[in-house]
């Protein structure tokens, strides 16, 4: 029942939207959705992994901007040829390094994730404006643009990349030792430690995994936009965490599924799209998002109560 919740919400949204505006359900809407969901979705997968382990990661938003600026500047200045390979490499490595820093602060210095990642977030905000003096970089290399703008048939490449990394996350969580430990950490960190598992190692690894996902999302962002700027963080961080929560990831850790977060990300993206179709004041978007998140949280609480009784 609980797993079906996000799908029920999504179905209800689609039904309501379609009855209000019959143009809404179309191939065009579906393709747009595929194009728009990838960045939020990938960041949400990273956020979900961290939240399952009982942590939280606030670095994804400004991380997106900082990594984008780093990759964009490497491209613009032509360091190491500025080719697509180096841009991809810089994105992934920067992401992993941010994750490693988070993991280090949390495990070695024992700073709670909330504070540690908040501090790193501020650090990244500053860095995104320092790299290349915060100057916008236009990206014209077609092989870099392919990730975000290319299509195979009419399916956006970015969506296929997103699906691939969903499958990777699913495999890690369900088929590897690390996945088992991530859920165990969220259930009880002490119990996990007492059963002889190297908690430090796996925590650092899981934050690095989340950071790498941010790196991928950043690459897709600059590729979609055809430019890198320090302001590209937008509302990605909150949208991604919201997507994970709407998808049934429990903020107290130990619970969460790739499929749920996948649906959660679609719901988050659809909210703004829907308001454009329905001609509702844009300022209402955040209100609607808030209401959907609250509903998801309430649902969580109610289901927990019922299952306890």
């Amino acid at each position: 029942m609980k797993e079906a919740a996000p799908i029920i919400v999504l179905m209800a949204m689609l039904l309501i939207l379609n009855s209000l505006n019959s143009d809404f359900m179309s191939l065009k809407t579906l393709l747009n959705l595929m194009h728009q969901v990838s960045v939020v979705g990938i960041v949400a997968m990273g956020a979900m992994i961290v939240i399952i382990s009982g942590g939280i990661d606030f670095t994804a938003g400004y991380g997106l901007a900082m990594i984008g600026m780093a990759a964009g500047t490497v491209y613009a200045t032509g360091i190491l040829g500025g080719s697509v390979y180096i841009v991809v490499l810089v994105s992934l490595v920067c992401g992993a390094l941010i994750g490693a820093l988070n993991g280090f602060l949390i495990t070695k210095l024992k700073i709670v994730p909330f504070i540690a990642t908040l501090a790193v977030m501020s650090l990244l905000q500053g860095m995104s404006m320092l790299i290349g003096n915060g100057n916008m970089v236009m990206i014209r290399d077609p092989s870099i643009l392919w990730f975000g703008q290319g299509r195979i048939g009419s399916i956006p490449v970015s969506f296929l990349i997103y699906i691939f990394f969903c499958l990777v996350a699913h495999t890690i969580l369900k088929r590897t030792k690390m996945g088992v430990y991530i859920y165990a950490l969220g259930g009880s960190e002490d119990a996990t430690r007492f059963s002889g598992i190297d908690v430090t190692k796996y925590k650092i690894l899981l934050y690095m995994l989340a950071g790498t996902y941010t790196g991928i999302a950043s690459l897709l962002t600059i590729s979609k936009l055809g430019l890198a700027a320090p302001s590209i963080y937008g509302s990605t961080l909150l949208d991604a965490i919201a997507a994970a929560i709407i998808g049934g990831t429990s903020l107290s850790g130990g619970k969460g599924k790739v499929m749920g977060t996948f649906v959660g990300a679609i719901i988050i993206v659809l909210i703004t799209t829907a308001l454009t179709y329905l001609r509702i004041k844009p300022e209402m978007q955040d209100v609607f998002k808030g209401v959907v998140i609250l509903l998801a949280l309430c649902f969580d609480v109610v289901i927990n109560k019922i299952s306890k009784e």
Binding site: K110, V120, S122, T276
Partner: protein, 346 residues
């Protein structure tokens, strides 16, 4: 162990604050203690330094500081009016020679501008007037120029159909001026339906908004976006939908990348306020005031130019708009963005 953790935490927070401040400092030779020599010191408070417009303003402003031998201290309000007020208070306490500020909210700044006036420090509000006798206001004609863009767009779509506007965010002065001008223009055309969405000055948000608007309105005829950095991203949505020929795209700011897009025909036009130029020019006005000069007019206009190709220029001139505007070509605009030939040294 606990002690170590708390020390480490404090260090990290301090470091992160330093990183946050990094973008705000001016030239390489600037110190933070004014009055150590005869150099005049200007304190400049911008809205936020993640936006390309303000990043460029700093560059242009630093050039002017070098040309005039003054020191400029740049600060970012991070979009927060409380922070802006306290930055003003800091500058008053520091006793700088002139304060320039991009008001986030004009009314909220009145008090602190009076304080500066009582302390004998001249003030300039950039792009927005604050109603205090001693205050000067520098404007880039955003409202008027956007209204003209609206007229041009309305003419080109034949005075009817759907036109979209991407504005920044409500309550942001620059955004409000540029949104207001467009709205006023469109109000004169009852057969035009205006569709508005905010883009929060973020290219990614702008791209999504444009995609959604185009999908929901297959008959969209024109899209105007109030800031070049976002327009260039929003254009990707037009291109992706294969509607380059159907949807007219227009923009504002005149940054070099957008001028190239104008030349290539992706954008029909932009307006060169020129962020670097705005930075240069504002510092120039600030230097005048710091040196004790007092211009007669309290509202000072910066020269702005419409950027378009010759072909587009001919189209616009044929419209016989009731407006006296300067039109320049994209290459000319790119050259002008970096040169400050409009502003002869005083």
């Amino acid at each position: 162990m606990k002690k170590f953790v708390s020390i480490a935490l404090v260090l990290i927070l301090a470091l992160s604050l330093l990183a946050g401040c990094g973008g705000e400092t001016g030239g390489p030779d600037e110190g933070t203690t004014p009055d150590t020599d005869a150099k005049k010191v200007l304190g400049i408070i911008l809205i936020d330094l993640t936006n390309q417009f303000f990043v460029d303003m700093v560059e242009g402003g630093n050039q002017a500081a070098e040309d005039y031998g003054v020191e400029v201290i740049w600060k970012s309000s991070d979009g927060n009016i409380d922070k802006q007020i306290s930055l003003m208070e800091n500058f008053i306490e520091q006793g700088v020679d002139c304060i320039l500020v991009n008001p986030i909210d004009s009314a909220a700044l009145e008090g602190v501008i009076r304080q500066a006036s009582e302390a004998g420090i001249p003030t300039v509000t950039m792009a927005g007037n604050v109603d205090v006798d001693s205050n000067y206001c520098t404007v880039y004609n955003d409202y008027e120029n956007t209204k003209i863009i609206g007229d041009i767009v309305a003419n080109m779509v034949g005075g009817e159909g759907k036109v979209a506007l991407l504005y920044g965010n409500k309550g942001n002065l620059v955004s409000d001026l540029r949104q207001g001008g467009f709205q006023e223009a469109m109000a004169a055309y009852p057969d035009i339906e205006l569709i508005e969405q905010p883009m929060n000055w973020d290219p990614a948000t702008g791209l999504k908004a444009a995609q959604d608007i185009i999908a929901a309105n297959p008959d969209l005829k024109a899209l105007h976006c109030v800031s070049d950095a976002v327009t260039l991203a929003a254009y990707q949505a037009v291109k992706d939908a294969g509607k380059e020929d159907q949807i007219l795209v227009t923009s504002f700011d005149g940054n070099p990348d957008a001028c190239i897009a104008v030349e290539e025909g992706q954008l029909k036009l932009s307006v060169l306020t020129g962020s670097k130029r705005a930075g240069y020019w504002n510092v120039q006005v600030g230097v005048q005031l710091a040196n004790g000069e007092r211009p007669d007019d309290q509202i000072i206009n910066m020269a702005t130019h419409f950027v378009m190709t010759d072909e587009m220029k001919a189209t616009v001139e044929a419209m016989n708009l009731d407006a006296d505007i300067s039109i320049i070509g994209p290459q000319e605009a790119i050259a002008m963005a970096d040169l400050y030939t409009d502003f002869e040294p005083k």
